[in-house]
């Protein structure tokens, strides 16, 4: 049975970049970009990715949306495609992306290739969650999500391999930067959700310990070790992400949050989805520890997606009680970590080499930079 590949191109994604705008999230910004002479970026990148798949010689069925949302790109790459859905050419929006994702899910695609940026990916996830594997062709200005391949060609290569041989899937964070804040020079990222993304376990820029790792197994291994180290009577502040969720699951906690911060005490969930104030109240006068994982693609361990763990919380807990966990594959995506707690002095305390737990009784010295 031939595999089905769905293709959605967001023709607007990335247009803000060259002209200095921070994104193209709204029609106003898009209009501004066009006025500044911005040209579409994503169609060409989508074609690049499709050409890489064509080169692989794989036989598959391509399903896509009309005109500039995929049909044009498929034709340019020399691929036959079945076109579904309706759009108004020249006037596409986030709604089209979401509808396309839903319709392709209904078509039963084996993989959804998305040519776009963080915003596009967030739209896709909003529509279909993790119900189909997706892979991002990087086109946006904002590429903070871990759901993107490194280059359009890499997206094509991984897609072809996934469809032909099968590849493991990992749960990658889908971020969205607050554009308004970004334009004002403030960086504020939200963790929008997770996507199921194919990855190559042996082709990762990582150490030998992780080169044969499959992310789920690695996460479980880290969780096992964290469990061994956990002390009774100490409150653990679990940051968002799939690795910290693995820790909660290892403790037998099934209802921890994926996007929020949870508190754990003596192997039981103490509080779910807490904010800064709630954390401070809970840990007042008690021994505590923080377990965080780098979120997104830029490798931030504080400041993106986990701002509830504020400088106040970190100071109260103490730097020596901060455990950073990350699978070798994750570190392959983000080999240098960053911090942005909001308190420059506190950030400095984390700079330099820190220990990151990468497996069962395995850790790595990783650089935390500016």
């Amino acid at each position: 049975m031939r595999k089905k590949l769905g293709l959605i191109v967001n023709p607007i994604a990335g247009m803000g970049g060259r002209v200095g705008l921070k994104g193209t999230d709204g029609p106003d910004t898009l209009a501004k970009a066009l006025k500044l002479g911005a040209k579409p970026v994503s169609p060409a990148r989508a074609v690049e990715a499709l050409r890489a798949i064509k080169r692989s010689g794989l036989k598959f069925d391509l399903v896509t949306y009309p005109h500039e949302m995929g049909k044009d790109e498929a034709r340019e790459a020399g691929l036959k495609a079945r076109v579904i859905g309706e759009i108004v050419s020249g006037r596409t929006s986030a709604e089209d992306t979401k509808r396309a994702a839903r319709e392709m899910l209904a078509e039963g695609v084996d993989l959804l290739l998305i040519a776009g940026g963080d915003g596009t990916m967030a739209d896709v996830i909003e529509a279909i969650g993790m119900r189909a594997p997706v892979l991002g062709i990087p086109c946006g200005v904002k590429l903070h999500s871990a759901a993107f391949a490194n280059t359009p060609e890499a997206a094509g290569d991984v897609a072809a391999r996934f469809l032909r041989d099968g590849l493991p899937l990992r749960e990658a964070e889908v971020m969205d930067i607050d554009e308004e804040a970004y334009r004002e020079g403030r960086l504020s990222a939200k963790l929008k959700g997770h996507a199921r993304v194919p990855y190559e376990p042996t082709m990762v820029q990582a150490t030998k310990e992780g080169s044969a790792g499959f992310e789920l197994a690695d996460q479980k291994a880290i969780a096992r070790w964290v469990l061994e180290l956990m002390e009774r009577g100490r409150i653990y502040v679990l940051g968002p992400g799939t690795t910290t969720r693995a820790v909660a699951e290892e403790l037998g906690i099934r209802d921890s949050t994926l996007l929020g911060v949870d508190l754990v005490l003596d192997h039981k969930l103490l509080a779910r989805d807490v904010n800064e104030r709630q954390i401070l109240e809970a840990i007042e006068g008690k021994p505590a520890a923080i377990i965080v994982s780098p979120i997104g693609r830029q490798g931030f361990i504080f400041g993106r997606g986990n701002q509830q763990i504020s400088p106040g919380v970190i100071r109260k807990v103490g730097k020596e009680n901060v455990l950073v966990v990350a699978t070798p594959h994750k570190l392959g995506l983000t080999p240098i970590l960053k911090v942005d707690t909001g308190d420059a002095v506190l950030d400095d305390k984390f700079r330099g080499y820190i220990r990151v737990m990468t497996g069962y009784r395995q850790m790595r010295m990783v650089m935390v930079s500016q």
Partner: protein, 504 residues
Amino acid sequence: MMANYRQARWAGDALLEPLIFELGKPGRVGYTLPPKLHEQLRIPKNLLREKLEIPELSEVEVVRHYTRLSQMNYGVDSGIYPLGSCTMKYNPKVCEELASLEEAAYIHPYQIEDTAQGALELMYRLERCLAEVAGVDRVCLHPSAGAHGEFVAMLLTRAYHKFKGDGNRTQVIVPDSAHGTNPASASMAGYEVVTVPSDARGRVDLKALETAVSERTAALMLTNPNTLGLFEDEILKIAEIVHGVGGLLFYDGANLNGILGKARPGDMGFDIVHFNIHKTFATPHGGGGPGAGPVGVKGKLEKFLPVPVVEFDEKRKRYYLDYDRPHSIGKVKAFYGNFGVLVKAYAYILLMGAEGLAEVSEAAVLNANYIMRKLSGTKGYELKFDSSGPCKHEVVFSVEPLKRETGIGAKDVAKRLLDYGMHAPTYYFPPIVPEALMIEPTESEPREELDRFVGALKVIADEARRSPDKLRSAPTATAVGRLDEVKASREPILRWKMYHKHRA
């Protein structure tokens, strides 16, 4: 240069040469016995078997089967075998012959010591040769593989710290370029493993190391020259950092071929050293062994060595096995090591002598540098780390430029080399170099063979541009074509019984 190579391929009905279990016919025999033997032997009833499921072939069928297999095999006796860090050097035939002498091959480890003095003396002397080569005080020959030696070294480390009453030493540090067996051996010995990154020059990042060490550090495991073929020139500083916190320094001897007679791990500050006899000392190297991974130690660790230790009784002028070692970590191998392998190693050392061993390293390093110089500048291949200075006995090239240009990467290049009648280098290792080709020619290769190898790599780069599909389907001139690795790792068939079940 044309790919003229053509390997033999024995196949019937498109299936490669059958297993010996699938050959023969019932009733065929390859022996003759005296006619009334089974009556005369009086074998106890409970040792007699009713059914014997062994192949039934005549002698000529057996000989032909193995001859066909040998023709479909490639070894160092066939051509260059440039696997990085494996040191696939030629095994001199005289060493094989000496090991097959009756005096070496037919003795039994449980013979009375008085009847095995030659064997004991050989091991005693071999220990001292290796100790001299490495700059350590005492050597144990028991470990029978490289990883086995590493594991023994970790057990010695554990015993050392335990003896000092230091129960806090829970971590072992390894560089990110380390061979995977290093962290595995440390883990198996119960340690937490801390990985430190390499710097831009391809050496251990000193700043990272300084942050990584603490009073929990039991040891640092290091290969020098490292797996990038580069000498850890800050080794004295590294030793200071680790010793400074009370940790031990372990030397992985995989790359000893690069420094024989030139530098000694013991002098660099290493406390425990392991050797890969099947690499550096020219004993046969086949996955699965038998190999030998002796471990050498500085004086302070001597008391922990495995039992038995070969000693010489000055008064009675005889060698004996000493089991009276109260602090020993115990037995790590049945008997005293892979004796046959040790005989070959000893013969090799005597064959080369001290000057010869130094020449071995000189030639090995020269050959690797020759390849480095001849290949660098070739479009498609680049050196990722420190291309300014010489490499040691191996060189790591990245095929990333070719991959970007043509989509053809290290793996396809490696596979296509087989069509030129050469074994490929290691690829995708070390993982810190993308599209890595790890090339170790060893000292055995004549210059013409090196030229042939470099020539093939250049031609293959051109082929990648002109006809990449040819490379994607390579090799086609070999007995077996490109393997389905995904299938192999998902459904491994490792034994006759598994195969039998699979076919049924």
